[in-house]
């Protein structure tokens, strides 16, 4: 007989005390508080009456309170600036450069407040595109964590100090400094700023300016004679990327995305695409867009590049090296074949910081004749100039005590250098430490003085991201706080009395201008950019001599031999970047393009490793690196991650960034390997489970599209053969035979007379970067909800980018049972193909949401818009329930005044943050549904401008924020009633070929049309 075990709830039950017995009879431990408050001892008193009394009183009070309208003030300007008209936006050309991310921008200001940033179409570099970080930069302006003025350190805290005092103290201390003065910065691409620094340095013998990058390209620079080569992906027909996330945050996100996509758009008349191979460890944004993606371990990188080099050297008659063979020969062969076939239009790029790898890559490009075509030697890239060796030497010198003063500009090595501990110990030995940081960040916390810099949107500056392309930034708002521009501070400290604006003008007059300078300057400030001008160019410090081929060969052999165990790749996300802008909630909540994770970093592990070690998603792992550093982070099972490797993103684990970023994730910089002359963002690690669990907030938790026609794709061969056969159109059975669903309808169709707004989204062009998502947030005041609410599936983005992985199992081919098949279809492949699909309100002409709203809060307009009327909505959520695209969002909270969101949603909680809100769009209240409006405020504005001029709107004049943001023009918006609009032309051209509607079988007749993705992924 089985032994019956007894379990107790606690010791009380075991002892069975009288109190316990008594309590156990009462279901609720305490009396309901409503009775207690009344002091009613009698149990018979009915709380119902109290409840009704309270309700009645509350109702009456609320009614009385609402009777009296509050007195509102209207405060006009005292002296209205000539160019400001209340209600009319002003646009200023400017530049955003932060965190290695360059964007020429236009800043939209309303009543003197910058509220949105858009790309500047005049720029020859970014050509109207804008990265997610560029989009979010406007929010950083209103960051509460920014310093309100200069501070000096006293004891462990910082106290406020005036600029006069700080200038006096610093100049005195600098004059008496013993040892050399060092200015540590991240990459500076401003020629004038560099001139200021040179002038400042001339005053102090032994002055040294050190540039370093949190994710360094030092080896790339060193291998190419001191600069990053002027890559031009628009000329490349065959591309091989090796751990280079070039349409991500590598060197020049928007510029490369623009170039890359020019050869990826296909039409019936021009069905040609570039061929892109990507060999990488972590599944990057670039890898997700590649035609052929091969997962490799970091240690295989050298072997692969050497093998590629050897094969090409054999074909072109170069020197062949003795290196180990690369295992995946099929893909290697194909890559070699395509590269050789496209000589002069081929490009190989590597994101490695290994000099040997970069030396070989340079040689490959030379052999392929890339220089002069896909690499423009006349226009090298300046966005990364960091020199690892120099930075390492300075850290040593600081520890040796030979540095007298150190100044940090845009540099935070205590957080983002792998040798942070050594930086800290070194700083203790430096007599004078000054930081220009805009907040008390990790490094600034150790500084004696913090003299905060203006935000970019408050300052004058110039930028040269690529030789010959210069742009300006200009103040779009008076400084919010008592900050001062870095350049002004340096000029003051070097005894120069000119302000930086005059200095900049003088520099430009002598360097860029010819003829009438005032006219030239006015035009330059107006346009914001100068394209193809002759500039002196920039050099990045003294680099070590490049490596010889033989040395490279030896190095490759050594790396390959040294590798064992699980390998770690430290990478940078395109959202949060190096972590400099981590205190920006837009960037924190913007889902990672691949993993769809928000508000955290994690250990990305391959499926095989998860199976092997029995790791489930969200299990907290302890990752111990060979250099002794450990880090604890939850696991995220990442399809496409190379076997035997894990990856961790940097940019998280800030401690001094501000309340949004502090404590989010863990810092991965210390996991990088520091060698004699550089930093390798790889390491050997061991992994163990801690037993704890920490949920990762993902905006998408399903991975495959289960063979449904949500997204459609076809191969380039099929497309070339018959463009009308690449898209599957659903037919439904009718008495008259199979018909298109739109032929069978319950509803009468409406004839659009004036406008019929429509959107085309080219899945072939969408790279999944997420710029449109933040463009939408910025335009439409979408609330940010924070990690817990994302976990609750209550994220509020009106536009999301769905990412689907391919699966190995298909319904047609599977030999399993039906249930097993479906289960297997949910599993993504080990190395899946990835497809991105921006998903927003489809503005269905037969909208399922409209028919179920009991209060007619969502209706259809005569221009084809699915309108959402917040003030009418009572929050039944029937519409969200009935929407097949799941694009309707419910306001669960009053995000504007709920303490719970004061950390994650500061832009709506504080007066400072509210300055970023778009005054033309309502901030929605709690309890209503909201969703994409096709930017109706922009449509209305465009129409009004046309009406004022007495004309029809021009095509391209009215675009939604997402279409405007898209750096690859994947989203096209326009009037489908205008036969000459771009949308109409594309729809006519692609009708029956690539154009399809999502879930067409439902006959919702959306106004958003998608174009089938075409893949060039066959291997001959």
């Amino acid at each position: 007989m089985q032994e019956k075990r007894k379990y107790w709830k606690g010791l009380e039950e075991l002892e069975n005390t009288p109190e316990f017995i008594n309590n156990s009879l009462n279901e609720f431990a305490e009396f309901l508080p409503v009775k207690e408050k009344n002091g009613a001892a009698d149990k018979e008193t009915a709380p119902r009456r109290d409840f009704l009394k309270l309700m009645g009183f509350g109702l009456a009070a609320a009614t009385l309170a609402s009777c009296e309208a509050p007195v509102r003030k209207a405060i006009p300007y005292l002296h209205k600036p000539e160019e400001v008209d209340p209600g009319i936006a002003n646009w200023y050309a400017s530049t955003f450069f932060g965190d290695g991310d360059y964007n020429a921008v236009l800043v939209k200001t309303r009543e003197g407040r910058p509220i949105k940033v858009e790309g500047n179409p005049l720029s020859g570099v970014t050509r109207g595109g804008l990265s997610p970080r560029g989009q979010a930069s406007v929010l950083s302006l209103y960051d509460e964590a920014r310093l309100k003025g200069p501070v000096s350190k006293s004891g462990q805290t910082h106290k406020d100090i005036t600029w006069e005092e700080v200038d006096r103290e610093i100049t005195t201390k600098l004059a008496g400094v013993r040892g050399k003065v060092v200015l540590v910065s991240t990459t500076i691409i401003s020629p004038t700023t560099k001139q200021v620094i040179r002038e400042f340095g001339a005053k102090y013998p032994g002055f040294e300016h050190v540039q370093y990058d949190p994710i360094s390209a030092s080896a790339l620079i060193q291998a190419n004679g001191g600069v990053v080569p002027g890559y031009d992906f628009s000329k490349a027909k065959a591309i091989v990327g090796i751990n280079a996330d070039f349409i991500g945050p590598w060197l020049s996100q928007v510029e490369f995305a623009k170039q890359y996509i020019t050869n990826r758009k296909v039409t019936r008349d021009n069905p040609n695409m570039s061929k892109h191979y990507q060999f990488e460890t972590a599944l990057s944004l670039t890898g997700a867009n590649a035609d052929i993606r091969v997962p490799i371990k970091p240690s295989e990188e050298g072997v692969f590049v050497a093998a590629l080099y050897n094969r090409i050297a054999q074909a072109t008659g170069g020197q062949v090296l003795n290196t180990p063979a690369f295992s995946q020969t099929k893909e290697l062969d194909a890559a070699v074949k395509d590269l050789l076939a496209n000589r002069g239009a081929a490009l190989v790029v590597s994101g490695s910081n290994d000099l040997a790898v970069q030396t070989l890559v340079r040689e490959i490009n030379r052999a392929l004749g890339s220089e002069g075509s896909t690499i423009n030697p006349a226009a090298p890239i300046y966005t990364k100039q960091g020199n690892d060796a120099q930075m390492l030497r300075i850290i040593e010198e600081m520890n040796a005590g030979t540095v007298g003063a150190v100044i940090f500009y845009n540099a935070n090595p205590v957080y983002n250098h792998p040798l942070a501990e050594k930086v800290k110990s070194g700083l203790a030995k430096v007599a004078l430490k000054i930081s220009f940081a805009d907040r008390i960040d990790e490094t600034a916390a150790l500084a004696d003085y913090i003299t905060p810099d203006h935000h970019t949107l408050e300052s004058w500056n110039d930028f040269e991201p690529r030789k010959g392309f210069v742009s300006l930034s200009q103040p779009t708002i008076a400084p919010l706080f008592k900050t001062r521009q870095v350049q002004d501070s340096l000029l003051v400290w070097s005894g120069n009395n000119t302000n930086y604006y005059d200095y900049l003008r003088t520099f430009w007059q002598s360097n860029f201008s010819s003829g009438d300078f005032n006219a030239f300057w006015d035009k330059a400030v107006h346009d914001g950019v100068l394209n193809n001008v002759s500039t002196p160019g920039q050099t990045s410090g003294a680099g070590a001599p490049p490596m010889t081929l033989a040395a490279a060969s030896v190095a490759v052999n050594n790396t390959a031999k040294a590798a064992k165990g699980i390998e770690l790749a430290v990478y940078q996300k395109s959202t949060i970047g190096s972590g400099e802008m981590a205190n920006n909630p837009w960037l924190q909540e913007l889902h990672d393009p691949i993993s769809k994770a928000t508000w955290d970093n994690y250990v990305a592990i391959p499926q095989s490793l998860a199976k092997e070690m029995d790791i489930k998603q969200n299990d907290v792992l302890r990752v111990k690196a060979a250099n002794g550093t450990t880090i604890e982070l939850p696991a995220l099972i990442q399809p496409g991650q190379a076997k035997g490797t894990v990856s961790i993103a940097v940019g998280y684990g800030r401690t001094h960034a501000g309340k949004v970023a502090n404590g989010v994730g863990a810092n991965a910089y210390p996991l990088a390997t520091v060698t004699n002359n550089g930093i390798q963002y790889i390491n050997g690690v061991s992994i163990e489970k801690t037993g704890a669990e920490k949920p990762i907030a993902q905006t998408q938790t399903h991975h495959t599209f289960m063979d449904r026609l949500v997204v459609q794709e076809a191969s380039l061969e099929e497309y070339k053969k018959d463009p009308t056969n690449v898209t599957e159109y659903i037919k439904i059975a009718t008495p008259d035979g199979p018909q298109s669903p739109s032929k069978v309808s319950l509803w009468y169709d409406y004839e659009y007379k004036n406008h019929h707004w429509g959107m085309v989204i080219d899945l072939n062009s969408c790279i999944g970067c997420g710029s449109c998502v933040l463009g939408c947030v910025s335009e439409n005041n979408t609330p940010i909800v924070g990690k817990q609410e994302v976990l609750n599936r209550r994220d509020m983005f009106w536009l999301r980018i769905d990412r689907y992985y391919s699966s190995d199992t298909h319904k047609e081919t599977s030999e399993m049972g039906l249930i097993d098949t479906y289960q297997a279809m949910e599993e993504p492949s080990e190395n899946p193909q990835v497809i991105f699909q921006p998903m927003l309100c489809q503005h269905c002409n037969h909208a399922p949401c409209e028919t179920v709203c009991p209060v007619l809060a969502t209706t259809h307009s005569t221009e084809g818009l699915n309108q959402m009327t917040y003030n009418r909505c009572v929050g039944t959520r029937y519409c969200a329930n009935n929407c097949p695209y799941k694009v309707r969002r419910f306001n669960w909270f009053s995000y504007t005044d709920n303490e719970k969101f004061s950390v994650s949603n500061p832009q709506m909680q504080t007066d400072l943050g509210r300055m970023v809100l778009n005054p033309d769009v309502t901030v929605r209240a709690r309890g209503v549904i909201e969703k994409c409006s096709f930017c109706v405020q922009r449509i209305q504005l465009g129409k009004l401008e046309a009406k004022k001029d007495g004309r029809r709107p021009k095509d391209g004049e009215i675009v939604t924020a997402c279409a405007q943001s898209c750096p690859t023009n994947a989203i096209i918006f326009g009037d489908m009633k205008d036969p000459n609009s771009q949308v109409s032309q594309i729809l006519r051209r692609e009708d029956g070929e690539r154009a399809f509607h999502v879930l067409e079988e439902l006959n919702t007749q959306p106004n958003v049309t998608y174009l089938t993705k075409i893949r060039n992924s066959s291997i001959a």
Partner: protein, 431 residues
């Protein structure tokens, strides 16, 4: 005399009917959002005068009035004082004339503190039309200053009688009151006379001994009030009236929640639109500079006030408030009169520039308001009603050309209103 009682009943019923009528008529008034469409009718004057009037209001009115010295001289009968060619060259470039030593010019220049009149690059025809306008205005008697702004004369006059800001009561109204009082006095006299006659007759009857049954009843009749109180019919009717009145008040009040029609707050500076827009005929656009180009018709900044008040009435205590605001660098905090809810979007330029709507259509007789009040209810019903009734201003606007054609093809004769072009849809105002 028996009919007396039943008459009383009828009068109660009449009273009831009357009270119902008032209740419902007040409803009807509440819902009415009548849109005056005669605001755009042109005066009887010739085209030249009209054009001149427009030019005058837009360019001259800020410094000149017909009958009053403002910054510059009063322009009454200016055509008699100066010859047209002289006026033309003066308006085009007055300083040149002063420099050339023209006697009249120098005299005016000196008389007005050596202040220069800015030059206006008008054509001969334009200046002629302005002079013609002044000529026409001079011909009008001095006392009646024509209200300005939007040719909305009749509307204004009417509003002046019954608008909350109106001060004078019309003549007809005065007589009406006298007649009413006289009538009431007459009625009372009649009632008393009749009562006296009735008593006399009763007394006479009592004196007689040989009365018939009916007559005895009549003589013995006692007026018993308690019977009337206690009668069920009276109670029901009184209850009903009480209930109706309560209901009326409740509904009125409920509809009025959040409504602030007639809201007339005290402003920090006693600025009078009546003086500026009415008497001095300064164009609305002169101060509310963005009304034709922006969503907001901005409240003028202090520097716009200073365009004139750096010269005029500098010592007025109200103007001094502006000076002190400028000195203290503290903006003037006006009380906002017209408040729309945050979730509705309104664009002035859409209505003024594109729609060609006069300011007075929504803001009422602003040129006769000493203190601005909210003229229109600003409810959604009021907006929508206007959108339903107002024909679109499509004339000469290429945006609408094809739409008008399509509309006329589909609906013969029906007006092409704002609503028929989608102007009543949610997303036109709510986003």
């Amino acid at each position: 005399m028996i009919s007396c009682k039943s008459n009383k009943k009828y009068s109660f019923l009449l009273a009831l009917l009357f009270s119902f009528l008032t209740v419902f008529s007040s409803f009807a008034q509440g819902e009415q959002a009548s849109v005056s469409q005669d605001g755009v009718t042109a005066g009887a004057a010739g085209p030249d005068v009209q054009a001149g009037g427009t030019l005058f209001k837009n360019n001259c009115a800020s410094c000149h009035a017909i009958n009053e010295k403002v910054v510059g001289p009063a322009l009454r009968d200016i055509h008699k004082k100066h010859k047209l060619p002289w006026l033309i060259s003066w308006i085009r470039n007055s300083s040149k004339m002063v420099q050339s030593g023209d006697k009249q010019a120098v005299q005016i220049f000196n008389e007005y503190d050596k202040q220069q009149m800015p030059s206006f690059a008008f054509s001969d025809e334009e200046i002629t039309s302005i002079v013609k306008y002044i000529e026409a205005e001079s011909a009008a008697p001095v006392a009646t200053t024509a209200p300005t702004g939007g040719n909305a004369n009749d509307q204004t006059a009417q509003a002046a009688t019954d608008g909350p800001g109106g001060e004078s009561i019309g003549d007809a109204g005065k007589y009406l009151n006298f007649i009413l009082i006289a009538l009431i006095v007459l009625l009372i006299v009649m009632v008393i006379t009749l009562l006296i006659i009735a008593n006399l007759m009763k007394d006479y009857l009592r004196g007689k001994k040989d009365l018939e049954g009916n007559d005895i009843e009549l003589v013995e009749q006692r007026w018993d009030f308690s019977k009337v109180y206690k009668s069920r019919a009276v109670q029901v009717i009184a209850g009903l009236i009480f209930f109706c009145v309560l209901l009326d008040i409740a509904i009125e009040e409920t509809y009025g929640v959040g409504l602030s029609q007639g809201y007339q707050p005290r402003q920090p500076i006693a600025f009078s639109h009546k003086l500026h827009a009415g008497e001095h005929q300064i164009n609305c656009n002169y101060c509310h500079t963005s009304v034709y180009k922006s969503a907001s018709a901005n409240i003028p900044s202090a520097n716009i006030c200073m365009n004139c008040h750096s010269q005029i009435k500098k010592d007025s205590p109200e103007i001094q408030k502006i000076y002190s605001a400028i000195e203290k660098n503290k903006p003037i905090e006006w009380v906002r009169v017209h408040n729309l809810p945050d979730f509705s979007y309104f664009n002035h330029s859409q209505h003024t520039k594109v729609g060609g709507i006069e300011c007075q259509t929504c803001h009422g007789p602003i040129e006769s308001m000493n203190v601005v009040y909210q003229y229109s209810p600003l409810t959604m019903g009021w907006c929508i009603n206007c959108h339903r009734e107002t024909p679109l201003n499509t004339e000469g606007n290429k945006y609408y050309d094809n739409l008008v054609k399509l509309h006329d093809e589909a609906n013969k004769g029906a007006a092409f209103t704002v609503a028929s072009n989608g102007g009543a849809e949610c997303s036109k105002c709510h986003y």
